[in-house]
Amino acid sequence: MYKYDGIDTQIIQERVTQFRKQTQRYFDGTLAADDYLPLRLQNGLYVQRHAPMLRVAIPYGMINSQQVRKLADVSRKYDKGYAHFTTRQNVQFNWPEIGDVPDILADLSEVEMHAVQTSGNCIRNTTTDQFAGVINNEIVDPRPYCEIIRQWSTFHPEFAYLPRKFKIAVNACPDEDRAAILVHDIGLEILKNDAGELGFKVFVGGGLGRTPIIGSEIRSFLPEQDLLTYLEAILRVYNRHGRRDNKYKARIKILVKANTPEKFASMVEDEWQHLKNSDTKLTAEEIARVKGFFLEPAYDELTNNPASYIQAKEGSTAFSNWIKRNTHAHKKDGYRIVTLTLKKTGIPPGDVTDKQLEIIADLADQYSFGELRVTHDQNLVLSDVRQDQLFEVWEKARSAGFATPNLGMLSDIICCPGGDFCALANAKSIPIADAIQSKFDDLDYLYDLGEIDLNISGCMNACGHHHVGNIGILGVDKRGQEFYQVSLGGDSGKQASVGKILGPSFAQESMPEVIEKILDVFVANRTDEELFIDTFKRIGMAPFKERVYAKAD
């Protein structure tokens, strides 16, 4: 993991001081509420339905046990004893006082954490694959590039007041994309050219929200040293030409679409000619320096499938189900990647208590070199667990509530905070997730269904990524009543696609039944081993529509 030096520390401490003074000026009236707003947003501070909400950055999802303990501490000291992991690999506190936020930021800075640019019309947290660095099929570990982008985008003087928020994601797997790069403002795919040199395929203009669009490729190979100058060119074109008259048309995707990707690419190319040979061009030394923070931990030399592990799997169906669903192959023999699911029925997806945070930190220290990753589907990953210790980890995770073996299943729902917490929401989202999880709690049935992404957003801003859910649910307001629109066929992976709307929306209480009918159609039509998304792509919308909207007999 990246470790701050004296300069990084000083920058973050100066930010705390700056924000403390801004907040003081807001309280004494010399900084108007409207002028304070973009400043507090760029520090992750929203004013929500019930209370302010503070979003803390977890750069590309990497967090260590000391930081997790600090989050537990902060949740006790300033909040209601819990925290919420988000779909942007960040963490939120739902109940802080505005006046306490400078102190919270000071506490967080002690463990190299901050809330820099976690909101506002600026460059947000860069995200990547939660399995970065521990899987076999990646070209190279993407995290050093994410850290290079993090430093470049932190307090960038030219891009603090963009037309709208700006999100960058990086993927390094040729045949999978857990970072959903095609639905980001910039998606970077790491690859090697024919000469074996590293670089990036660059996509722009993907995004969800009101106008879901899949990103367009504007450059097939960008050499790694040109990363920052090229990003700077894209951002400058967007800063100058992105729409500022209508916030719903202000994302870069609208600019790319209006100009066509080809035209946009040539605008970037023209701008880049002025920047590509500037001192911002990366050096081999800097890339090597940052890569030095992401070296392999001190793995033991082990073999796969030790006897105790095999015996434990044979002795317990529950354990072997969990292994199958919630763990993933590791590049190193004798290890596996463990996902701790934060999706227990009855708990809002992504929520964890202070006690649970401490258990998570202990698990990381004891079994996974003290590090964790936060996933965009609101779970946590222990990336380096020895196979002969998996049974112990499972027992501990299970008693703490993190081992519901539903990873990737229907009940592993991505869900925004919704109308229970968020001022923007049209409708509640958490009770819908809860009702669906309660109805579909039979694990055998869930396993039989196979992998299905079910994503719920409480409004068009799409924080729950409903457009790319195989089944997407969107809360809408109809004459003051909360209704839910269902879409099918969304996909966030390599074959990214935006879901299509099934038809008229439904009342809250009928949602579990609607989902059941959709699943019935899938089960009746699928071929062996076919996943929901594949069946949908094959048979189309009509059979689903017919069944769901059929008149009762």
Partner: protein
């Protein structure tokens, strides 16, 4: 009078900012003329040392490229401080066109934007009239080190980190 932070000191702005649609006769007092006026009356404006040009956020700094070495004062307007186009304009004027005269931020110019404005090449700041310019001065020193290259520090931190450690 409009307060102006310039060279780290508080002064009073001498120049009238003429309306964007201004099309009258050339003023004799110190003034900032709009870009459209300048492009029509270029030689006359350049001949008068007490005149500068201002451009708005929906205009094009490239229009000033041929005159970057002749102008002594360019102002960039921020209709709202959250309209960030002027930051890019400033860098282009300084870094691409080599403008070395006074680059002034006008409009919705506030304490909390000064630091980034300075890094993008502004050296004069016409603080919004209802605000305390003395208090705003502090904003110029919010951070002592930055990750990126900018107009004042052309070398990004990654090229200097070793020598600073």
């Amino acid at each position: 009078m409009q307060k102006l932070i310039k060279n780290g000191l508080i002064q009073t702005s001498e120049e009238d900012v003429l309306d964007k649609a201004f099309d009258g006769s050339l003023p004799s007092n110190s003034a900032l003329v709009p870009l459209s006026y300048f492009l029509v009356h270029t030689d006359a404006v350049l001949a008068q040392s007490n005149l500068g040009v201002w451009i708005d956020s929906d205009e094009t700094p490239e229009d000033l490229a041929p005159y970057a070495d002749k102008l002594t004062l360019i102002a960039i307007n921020f209709p709202k401080f959250a309209d960030g186009r002027g930051y890019s304009f400033a860098r282009i004027l300084r870094e691409r066109f080599g403008f070395t005269g006074e680059l002034r931020a006008i409009g919705d110019v506030l304490h909390d934007q000064l630091f980034y404005l300075k890094r993008c090449g502004f050296d004069a700041f016409a603080i919004r009239e209802d605000k305390d310019a003395t208090a705003a001065l502090e904003g110029l020193g919010d951070f002592s080190e930055n990750y990126q290259a900018d107009v004042l520090q052309t070398s990004p931190l990654f090229r200097r980190r070793k020598s600073l450690a």
